[in-house]
Point group: C2
Chain length 147, copies 2
DNA sequence: GTAATACCTGAAGCGCACTCCAGGTCAAGC
DNA sequence: GCTTGACCTGGAGTGCGCTTCAGGTATTAC
């Protein structure tokens, strides 16, 4: 019986929502326009009132966006969600695919870190040597890729 | 004495360079325009000839770009390199800063993975349950954030 | 000589994910 | 009654990192 008119005391104003999720008011509206958020509740004056479910969902959106999922893919995911439980396998597949992508990215970055570390070490050596023997700083045998 | 006119048999054509570095011909030119690559050698017909040093450098550029360093930051880094060894400390600082950023990103992604795994697990359970007891699939107590 | 291929240049265009703007409404405070 | 502030709308603008285009040149293959 309290399905429709409860004023929902926990609802958030756009400003509060933005602050608590780290997603700007404009971006929240943008997400709604793009179908990443189904139409948000309104107060009598037409202002949006975000529910805690909205907040939770936006946090998930952020998590997926932060890991590079496109707006397009997120829209697909949302639409599947709206179509009911029978789309769960598809949603699962989508998430698993995304997870794989993210794991790959992590791997790429780790390898990059190694490479960067190499250069860091090279510079560190060079600099400490330059400090010690102000002269005679031949780049030693085959200085790797200067720059 | 062989400082200038050696035809350099190991030099790469744009097409070869693109294939071997995974960076397109257009992007290579773009990088050069943007000062990420100092002007590349030319054959007598005006075509670019990339040295193995160029190749090495482009691989580093890729590594840094892949980990999110901006074109702007890369330009700075290159310019420092052109200014001589006395900029090594600055370059070192730049790399260390970037490394920190990349480590942070990895951390963010790992956390995201955990969250994604949660949802994957949730869907997996839901789906297997739906398969087993085609009926009576109440979402159990407090189904977390459907969608 | 002709055509195909590989490259050149400067400049315009594109896709993505926002972000900003102009002009308007509503409620509260003075 | 008037101002202020938070929010609304549709639509235009922005920044980044390429990518494409139009028009041209040099070498090789026939």
């Amino acid at each position: 019986m309290d399905t429709k008119k409860t004023p929902d005391h926990t609802a958030l104003t756009p400003a509060q929502m933005a602050e608590q999720t780290g997603v700007s008011i404009e971006t929240l509206r943008y997400y709604e326009r793009e179908g990443l958020l189904q139409p948000v509740e309104r107060a009598t004056n037409g202002h949006r009132r975000y529910s805690s479910a909205d907040k939770h969902w936006v946090e998930i959106l952020r998590c997926l966006r932060d890991t590079g999922m496109s707006i397009e893919a997120l829209r697909t995911y949302c639409q599947l969600g709206e179509q009911g439980v029978h789309t769960q396998p598809e949603r699962l597949a989508l998430l698993e695919e995304h997870k794989r992508l993210v794991l790959d990215e992590i791997e790429t970055k780790k390898q990059a870190i190694e490479r960067i570390d190499h250069k860091i070490q090279y510079y560190t050596e060079q600099i400490s040597m330059a400090g010690a023997t102000a002269k005679a700083t031949q780049p030693i045998k085959g200085a790797p890729h200067e720059r």
